[in-house]
Symmetry: C2
């Protein structure tokens, strides 16, 4: 007997028919002798519908008081889900009980709309499991010290599930989703992309933050911090496939570096074209210049991703960074009107037609020449590299966006990631 947390996304909860199918799947696990906690999302579209109503009444809810109410409204989507799923489980002949985040309780800080879980009291849930019940807990939400409902931000149900699994020291956290696992890269770009049976949580972190949006990144951090064995698997398999088959499907996020040593140096390739590149040319190279350049950008609430400062010559340097494309015009405007005059730089150049391609792999820590292979591959395809950044387990390049698919396919092949290749 194992204690297992199941998480189902909004699509899996999208209709009463699908909820019934979730209940049948959970029943299969219970009948195999496992203790199950289920964390469902709101029915698909529901959170948007609720926030849409709120927006009609207050287009810009930016005060803490208003955000508190947004959270109170948005949290009801999952409260409906848990009640309906508990009923569906009971209709399957199981004992089941639902709890809102406040009932568990799942304690969070008071950062409305993006709260963080601080503590989960598992007393009540454990008593229910011991009494033979399936426990259904709302994702996405909790309660703060003052007794206010909070939400964890979009995708927060993943984090709820992993946090519950961590608090209960569950044997595994199964994230049922609309993809059947984590791939070496996006199969829509590279048809030969291969599903990874395991991935280290560090690789998963890089892939998640780089656009392989399978899991909310905070849930991966949580899984890593508390070493929660977490598996991403498909919610579209028939509910009645053999349990052993289901339990071994998808991609398992692991924490044991030793296991990974034998595996591929590069686990996968991430990419995105959400960013734009900005270069400030001829910046006087003196202490504090980076802050002078990026301070106003941060103040304007614009997130900066890749940052590169070249070696200077003649007392001047070039400074480049990327921002989200949505912030590109605002950032350019800000730099030209305020920052450039203040720091005495020569000019600002911008380019929104770029993309970022990253190779990710924990094996890069101990293998030399991985970045070199990346650069050679891109060179052979005639792709010019505009920016490079590296971390221990990732190398990212910024290139012209028109080469994105070509670069991803070439790199996928160069690192032997395709199906049928020796892993």
């Amino acid at each position: 007997m194992a204690l297992i947390v199941h998480k189902y996304g909004g699509t899996s909860m999208g209709s009463t028919e699908r909820i019934r199918s979730v209940a049948q799947r959970v029943a299969k696990w219970v009948r195999a002798g496992h203790q199950i906690v289920v964390v469902p999302s709101a029915m698909s579209g529901e959170t948007n519908r609720l926030l849409g109503l709120a927006k009609e009444l207050m287009p810009n809810a930016s005060t803490p008081e208003a955000m508190r109410e947004l959270d109170a409204v948005a949290a009801t989507g999952e409260q409906v889900s848990v009640g309906l799923l508990a009923l569906a489980l009971q209709a399957q002949g199981l004992q089941a009980v639902s709890y809102g985040g406040w009932q568990v309780p799942i304690k969070t800080d008071s950062a409305f709309t993006k709260a963080r879980i601080t503590h989960i009291d598992d007393t009540r849930v454990r008593a229910d499991l011991a009494a033979g019940r399936v426990v259904v807990i709302t994702g996405f939400q909790g309660i703060d010290e003052q007794g206010n409902v909070t939400t964890l931000g979009r995708g927060g149900s993943d984090t709820s599930a992993v946090a519950v699994a961590a608090a209960m020291k569950a044997d595994e956290c199964l994230i049922y989703t609309d993809v059947d696992g984590v791939y070496t890269t996006d199969p829509r770009i590279v048809p030969e992309a291969r599903r990874l049976s395991t991935i280290s949580f560090e690789e998963m972190l890089e892939l998640a933050s780089q656009g392989s949006k399978v899991l909310q990144i905070r849930s991966v951090e949580f899984a890593g911090k508390y070493r929660v064995p977490t598996r991403v698997l498909s919610s579209f398999t028939p509910w009645d496939i053999p349990l052993e088959e289901e339990a071994a499907s998808g991609t398992l996020i692991t924490f044991e570096e030793d296991e990974k040593m034998e595996q591929a140096v590069v686990a996968g390739i991430a990419f995105n074209r959400d960013e734009a590149k900005i270069s400030i040319i001829g910046v006087p190279d003196k202490p504090g210049i980076a802050f002078q350049l990026l301070g106003p950008v941060a103040e304007a609430n614009i997130d900066v991703d890749v940052i590169i400062q070249n070696v200077s010559h003649d007392g001047r340097t070039d400074f480049s960074f990327t921002v989200h494309r949505n912030d590109y015009a605002r950032a350019m405007d800000l730099l030209q009107s305020r920052v450039l005059p203040a720091v005495g730089a020569a000019k600002v150049l911008g380019d929104a037609k770029i993309c970022k391609v990253s190779i990710v792999g924990i094996g890069m820590k101990s293998h030399v020449g991985v970045a070199a292979t990346m650069f050679r591959t891109l060179s052979e395809e005639g792709i010019n590299i505009q920016m490079i950044t590296t971390s221990e387990i990732k190398t990212s390049v910024v290139i012209d966006e028109k080469y994105m698919e070509l670069a991803v396919r070439a790199l996928h092949k160069a690192f032997g990631l395709e199906q049928g290749a020796t892993a």
Copy 2:
């Protein structure tokens, strides 16, 4: 400065436009210097939508476990309403905060789907009011000793509002609804029906239970028990009518008998055609016979309304009662197949084509001849009376349903209830 509780029904909360209008109305009261607590219902149709989803998953939710989940699901309708209304109030420039029943908390017993309020802790609400906030509290729901969400049954938001007003010793509870007050009878039947500016809570009880379905009957009981000045008024007046005019509109439920002494003997006329009549003829008149007849009916969960046992002769009596028409066939079947043979009565007669007409008035306590006027009036119209029951402030007759409108109109005139008559 007064402390006033406003209650708004589902129609008033039916769209963001209507919610904005509610917020504007509340703002008018706040700007006049009053402390306001608002208790809104779910947006119209929402509770039915939620319970419809639940029904698809479990057609007959009859166990306590299932009813617990029904309540958890249904309660979210009001949770959405309070959050949206708080946002709308903030958009009007007011300070506002929303609470679910569990946050106040509004404590109830554990009778899921029909819980009763046992205690309301007003500490948190009072602190908010003192800090200048409008407090928006979910109607229809509370929390039991075990921390489960409960609901109070259909129309329960009326009861929530009156209970909150009672707990806070509010100066008045204003029930904004889609009628503009309580009438001497249904204006659709008697166009001359007059709105009552005041009505005693006992009369209101009888009118509410007799089919003048303006308020949930339990809310009237609550108002009476705690002497909460409660006013039924229209939510369809423009929000910006003068406050003094609004405050004096509708119908005020009163508790001072002295005031009523000067008023009309009969306050209003109630009627319904939801019932069917059943007579058991030739019942042996011996102790325990009423229980032998009605015990099996109660066991079958069939509510009995009017019950009449005639004086016996020759050791036999006739026994009549009314049931809801929905239960008529079941009751007849039960009596014929099981009860009749057991008690040795002669036969069972039934009639579903009846109606009940009642005159209600606290003045009947101290005036003689009121019932006689009723009987004479019906006699003059050639209407045969089939059954009669009386209480201190009500006289009801059962007549052929085809005479219902005629009877109501004739009685309305006979007791001088029409507009322009001396009240």
